[in-house]
């Protein structure tokens, strides 16, 4: 019998695990996918080897790469890009850590307050969230991003839009700025040389500008795991969780089990109230079961609803899996005569926030991913067919796939003469966008999830916001000097995931109550992006999700273990702490 079992070691699970381990609880952390404990031995920097969603070392699938990926159904042209493995989807993320916009919280009273998804706010105030933001920002740590050429190009364009520069953590109004990134900024030789002999730790510290964030960060070479530049949870919260005894007084290291796919959450009536009692998981063909006082679901926005349904847990208001938000991304890129530094440095280090419409960020990509990004569209093929869409605007020609001869011409101009802008939409929580169980055959872990996004039938506000931000992206690229600007009109590319098990004040349209506990099952909490109340207005979700998970960890400790909260009364330990590095070394990690 454990104190707490956490399901999933992605963006959220390790946060709950680390926080409760620091309080001395006995925590079991179960992860469905592999543990990439020695990335230098298993990883490369190649796109197909890393990112092929079917076969790559960063995929949604089992550890054994000769086995197929795990199957999911999505009944539309779209792509759900989540990863299994310790670190979860943060293994290939970019570490962009902006805070949610204040306008998505209860009690917001700004002039633009009616411009947000007012029916689906967080059930507490932005002010209440701030200490949790600060706690995570200090733990990671989050830093103002350094500038490379692709940022310089982005800023050149942003400067033409008549917007101010944001110099605060909180976004109060439309503005642009360097990203606040969960990335250790370059120190020593890092960022200043391409000579590999000069890029070993500790001569180089922090980000070396290698440009391989999407392939997983294992730099600088020779650094201890908790001092790799990018603060994916496998480099930050997981090392902390495993070493809680050395940096937290009374801390107890978390037990981490990889290749452990949870197939069932158990619950039974206790004193007439349905209460979680434990979980069953599969390792290979062997089933295991353990019980715990508290169970935390952190399997992500797609798997949590699946696990809930496969466990036969009640869903009285029908909102399990509903209200999935994805920032309804779009992709606009420019071709430049000048060098843009596109595939170098962190995936993104510059952004523009535009509440209450959404935002923009620059994104650097290597060739195969750039080609993929240029051909994922709901608008057919430019110059050939429009699939009923093909919007026109300040970009060149109709929106649609850039492919075949046109793609070759664009990319042959030089991958480092492109600049891509990710269009991020402040999208509404909508019941129709949801996870259900698929009618297709089950896999070894049970019936599979079906992720439905009705991209063409989204709310008027969502559609308007997307068009608005796509125009801003094109204007920015023109301002930066692009000779040609393309809009792809992406089919849903589901990378930013939120709110499929949402927290809310109303019993009618939320799964989780304002403390983070599920309404239907006591002792069962949600600790990841799926608990977010909405799409945050557009900011990348992980900081807010981790802040919320920290708050939920406090609530678990208070409610079930009689403890006191700690965020307002103590100082966080930074995840790069040398004590953690030393212990990782002793553990052979």
């Amino acid at each position: 019998m454990r104190d707490v079992i956490v399901i999933g070691a992605g963006g959220g699970g390790p946060v709950v695990a680390k926080e409760l381990a620091a309080q001395g609880l006995d925590v079991l952390l179960l992860e469905a996918g592999p543990r990439n404990a020695h990335p230098r031995e298993n990883w490369t920097t190649y796109e197909d080897d890393a990112n092929n969603p079917l076969t790559g070392y960063l995929r949604w699938g089992p550890s054994d790469r000769s086995k197929p990926a795990w199957y999911r159904e999505w009944p539309q042209n779209s792509f759900v890009w989540q990863l299994s493995g310790v670190g979860g989807t943060t293994q290939h993320f970019y570490g962009n850590y902006p805070r949610a916009y204040p306008g998505v919280f209860e009690g917001y009273d700004g002039a633009d307050k009616s411009g947000y998804d007012v029916d689906h706010r967080f059930p507490f105030t932005y002010g209440e969230m701030v200490p949790y933001f600060e706690w995570v920002e200090a733990t990671m740590p989050v830093m103002t991003a350094a500038m490379g050429h692709k940022e310089q190009t982005f800023f050149r364009g942003a400067e033409t839009l008549g917007l101010p520069v944001q110099t605060t953590k909180t976004t109060h109004h439309p503005a642009y700025r360097p990203q606040e990134n969960a990335i250790l900024q370059p120190g020593g030789t890092a960022g200043k040389t391409a000579d590999p002999k000069l890029l070993n730790h500790p001569q180089a510290t922090g980000c070396t500008f290698c440009g391989y964030c999407f392939q997983g960060c294992m730099r600088p070479k020779g650094a201890p795991r908790n001092q790799f530049a990018k603060r994916s949870t496998d480099n930050s919260y997981v090392p902390m969780a495993l070493t809680a005894d050395v940096w937290a007084r009374g801390g107890k290291p978390v037990t981490l089990v990889a290749d452990a796919f949870v197939t069932r959450v158990h619950a039974e009536k206790k004193h007439g109230v349905l209460t979680a009692t434990g979980v069953t998981w599969r390792s290979g063909d062997v089933e295991h079961r353990e019980d715990a006082k508290v169970v935390v679901m952190s399997g992500g926005c797609t798997e949590n609803p699946r696990l809930w349904m496969n466990s036969g847990l009640p869903n009285p208001n029908g909102w399990v899996g509903r209200g999935y938000t994805d920032h309804f991304f779009d992709w606009v890129f420019g071709v430049f005569d000048d060098y843009t530094g596109n595939p170098k440095g962190v995936g993104s280090s510059a952004r523009l926030d535009y509440p209450p419409y959404g935002g923009l960020e620059n994104v650097g990509l290597p060739p195969a991913l750039a080609a993929f990004a240029g051909t994922l569209s709901d608008s057919g093929i430019r110059g050939q067919y429009k699939n009923g869409r093909g919007q026109t605007g300040p970009w060149d020609g109709p929106a649609g796939r850039v492919m075949g001869p046109e793609l070759k011409e664009v990319l042959s101009h030089g991958i480092d003469h492109l600049l891509s802008v990710l269009v991020i939409t402040d999208d509404d929580v909508e019941a129709q966008n949801r996870v259900t169980l698929s009618a297709l055959p089950a896999d070894e872990n049970g019936p599979i999830p079906k992720v439905a996004f009705k991209q063409r039938q989204r709310t008027a506000r969502t559609l308007r916001n997307r068009e608005f931000m796509a125009r801003k992206a094109a204007e920015l690229l023109r301002g930066a000097g692009a000779k040609k600007v393309y809009r792809i009109d992406w089919a849903p590319l589901i990378l930013h995931v939120q709110s499929s098990m949402r927290m809310g004040s109303s019993e009618r349209n939320s799964v989780v109550d304002p403390t983070g506990e599920t309404r239907a099952v006591k002792g069962l909490f949600i600790g990841d992006n799926s608990a977010l109340s909405n799409g945050l207005g557009g900011p990348n979700p992980t900081l807010t999700s981790q802040a919320l998970a920290t708050r939920t960890a406090e609530n678990i400790f208070k409610t079930y273990f009689g403890g006191d909260p700690w965020v307002r009364s103590s100082a966080p330990v930074v995840s790069t702490d040398p004590r953690i590095s030393v212990r990782l070394g002793q553990l052979g990690l």
Binding site: G148, G211, A371, G374
Partner: protein
Amino acid sequence: MARAGTLSRRAFLARVGILGAAVGSGGVLARSLLAPADAATNPLLPPAVDLIRPVLAELARDTMNGLTVFAMPGPDAYSRTQGTPSRTPGAIEAGATDFIINSLDNFVPFPDELAQPIGAALVTGLADSGIELPGLDVLPVQLHSLDKALAAYLESDEALPLSFPIAGLLNLMATQVNPLAVNGPHLSPFARLSYAEKAQAFELIEKTDADLVALLDVHFPEPLKDSVSGLLKFVGGALIEFATFGAYGESAVYDKVRRTLRKRPVGWTATGYQPDGPVEGWDDFIGYYQGRQEVHD
């Protein structure tokens, strides 16, 4: 849909490409293999399943060649047929066809429960298109043998390689767009299309809904039926995205054992990506915007 007669049966097999790949000019099978006299007299004749397997494999490969040059044309014959030849290496040189076939056949976790009925539909479907099939005359006996071989193959325990129904789908669409594509250079109708016609074929797949599913005339058990048209939309998009990803990626020259590259990938040369190969870092750090290294509320 009309009842299957010899004529419509022939048309359908021609449209999914099987007939041409089997017995068209350049086809994989000697016509005599399909002559029943041989079967009776020649004990060395391979069993039907072995007869049809290479036909389907070659057909799939040819179709996928047509697809990958659609994603990234080069100096090859398929790009020429498509009408967009290019002097610099393209998808064929990048090994994108192997990439896509390997992905489809070995890694797409596509349930057999769906692949099987789609595959079956593609060889037993009853699409009577009334299309003339110049140059593809086959004797009823040959057709019959081919059919028997296909049926035997589908009934065997062998998992159906996904590249086969996918190729069938592309070829069926190809002949919808241009009926004359049943005949010509290459083995498959899809590879015979122009660039614009290939785009039209994808337009049909992406539009999907009832039309295509009806054309396939696949009898999926409920509740799978609902999933099929959505799935086809996904397949249409994914084929394009995967073909491009494969064409610009390193898979063909990647040495899995040594975890290094045997050669510089075509996509790297085409785009100028990391001219000296993988790096530990770049000297691209300019400084901090407006000199600001920290922000506070």
